[in-house]
Amino acid sequence: MTSFLDILLGGVFHAAVLFLVAAGLQLVFGVQKIINLACGSFYALGAYTGISAVTWALAHGLPRGLFLFALIGAGLGLAVIGPPVEALLRTVYRRDEAFQLLLTFALVLIIEDILRMIWGANPQELGNLYMDYGTVGKGALTVPTYNLLVIAAALLVAIGLGLFLKRTRFGRLLRATAEDRETSATLGIEVGRVYTVVFTLGTVLGTLGGALVVPTAAASLDMSVDLVVEAFAVVVIGGLGSIRGAVVGALTVGLMRAFAVSFVPEMEMLSIYLVVIAVLIFRPAGLFGKAAA
């Protein structure tokens, strides 16, 4: 029974991180209709920057216990790359989606080498700093507090994002733009500005996801291309463009992976793709999507 709970919590933790990246993918797709293959690269960038930020802050007198803030700072600080990347993508908004996909694929190649230039080809890690937060629970069932904090943070982001989209003025502008770009522009919405903000928000969700995961897993150059396919599975299962779908999709993928790793390791990724294909065939709009094929 305890091992079952262990697996469950491991899966939920993975789902929490996946959700952050996938939510970024969803936002950008929902509004800009672009599938951003570079979302995994933003995630990797967040992870590497997170390590450097924590190392730097600890060397400059940050108490060990506050390392989480250095990570969050790194994740949020990477917002600066959002606007320039969006400006690049702006050149292909009116083009065929093949070009949009390819442009984000070019970013995957470029960012991978930038990471290699700055941090080298060897994986980087933070040691087990995160165990400073201790554990929750007793005996066989103990969970690192840090993992629970990350799950809570992802939940907060999910709720915050939902409220932002539903309740705030900017959220409404954003949804209007997603619904109909031309009409929104006619009604005086600055579509260009909305796009910049949305893309930057999407970027930050990715970098934050990477920064938060890095205390528990090493940062490596492969993490970007590996994560993209998982994030992609999440949005397909949940439905393209839907934040609620991203929550459900992330939980599905996270839990399925965790249980597959423990019981049928061969099926770790295979099971996920099988579900993705089943969803695409029987319900192409995903569980919560409204877009028709």
């Binding site: 599938i35 293959l37 690049l88 050149t91 292909v92 083009r95 989606e97 093949a98 070009f99 996909l101 390819l102 442009l103 694929f105 070019a106 970013l107 995957v108 190649l109 470029i110 991978e112 080498d113 930038i114 290699r116 230039m117 291309v225 993209v228 396919v229 992609f232 599975a233 397909v236 393209l240 390791p265 061969e266 099926m267 770790e268 990724m269 295979l270 793709y273 099988l274 993705v276 294909i277 695409l280 065939i281 192409p284 094929a293």
Partner: protein
């Protein structure tokens, strides 16, 4: 039509003479070009002519390479003609059901579904060690060509002489067949489907059936290219099926220009030689390749062939102007 035949024959003659002049290393790169050239001719039937962007074409390349590995290594079938036959049959057997599911969708959904199938195959290759050799892949043994084993030759000589010419022959045949295909009523129907599937349907074009046929042909071309790749490296490994490999295939197609017949061939050649020379200069070759892709996508969406055509049109324009003066 005539010009294309002349250019094609000249290129074929030059490539056929290459082993007499060039060092082995560039010849192995050309071999890689023949393999990718075949895969891209197929991909462009799907993408450039039919308008379906497959992000899982690497699946079929891997299928070809693994067919070669299974035939030569596990079954001891060394005849390359037999390997090709197995690769083609396997590609058809996989492409028909996968295609039936995929061609119901277009644009981004088609892309995602093909990506998912590609990754499904990748994780199968990667995880089922006992069947596929896992991440180490499977070795591919030297095949016999038309019954000849060439066992007295070392590997490089085999690859750069008999196998080189054989592969060039395959590419030439593949190119001619594809040329006939895209200029046949079938090819015209595919273009009609790309331009306006609804209208094509009204005019009696069986959209899904033709899309499926294009999908299967593309898969067969990729698998044949895959057998060449597998024999060239002597290895079939799961990375061949990874999604970034599919991304590279589209990269090559767009680099050359998907709106012209020769574009993918030009793209494959330029990509392979550019990547190779970059790799010998810097470990950051991905960065440069990425930037090249950005420039192509943003500034020259019709690729190198489109650029060449535009330049040619301009030069002809200048000459005409000069004459008019």
């Amino acid at each position: 039509m005539k010009l294309a035949a002349v250019v094609g024959l000249a290129a074929l003659a030059a490539l056929a003479a290459a082993p007499l002049v060039l060092e082995p290393y560039p010849l192995t790169l050309l071999l890689q070009f023949f393999a990718y050239g075949l895969a891209l001719l197929g991909l462009n039937l799907l993408f450039g002519y039919t308008g379906l962007l497959s992000f899982g074409q690497a699946l079929f390349v891997a299928l070809g390479a693994y067919s070669a590995a299974v035939c030569t290594r596990k079954l001891g079938w060394h005849s390359f003609e037999l390997v090709l036959g197995v690769a083609v049959v396997t590609a058809v057997v996989v492409a028909v059901p996968v295609g039936l599911l995929c061609v119901r969708y277009v644009s981004i959904f088609f892309g995602m579904l093909t990506l998912a199938f590609g990754m499904l195959f990748h994780s199968f290759l990667f995880k089922f060690y006992t069947v596929t050799g896992g991440d180490g892949g499977m070795l591919v043994e030297r095949p016999s060509l038309l019954g000849m084993r060439f066992s007295e030759m070392d590997k490089t000589t085999f690859l750069t002489r008999p196998f080189y010419w054989y592969a060039l022959g395959l590419l030439a045949v593949g190119t001619v067949v594809m040329w006939r295909l895209v200029h046949s009523p079938f090819g015209v129907h595919l273009s009609a489907i790309r331009e306006n599937p609804r209208k094509a349907e009204y005019l009696g074009v069986e959209v899904r059936r033709l899309r499926l046929i294009a999908f299967v042909i593309a898969g067969v071309y990729a698998a044949v290219g895959g057998t060449l790749l597998g024999i060239r490296t002597g290895l079939a490994d799961p990375e061949l099926a990874y999604w970034t490999h599919s991304g590279n295939l589209i990269f090559m197609t767009v680099l050359g220009g998907f709106s012209s017949f020769a574009g993918p061939l030009v793209g494959a050649a330029v990509f392979i030689f550019l990547q190779d020379s970059l790799m010998s200069v810097t470990q950051y070759w991905r960065l440069v390749m990425g930037m090249v892709l950005v420039v192509i996508v943003v500034l020259f969406p019709r690729g190198l062939v489109g650029l060449a055509q535009a330049l040619r049109a301009r030069v002809i324009g200048w000459r005409r102007d000069a004459r008019a003066d």
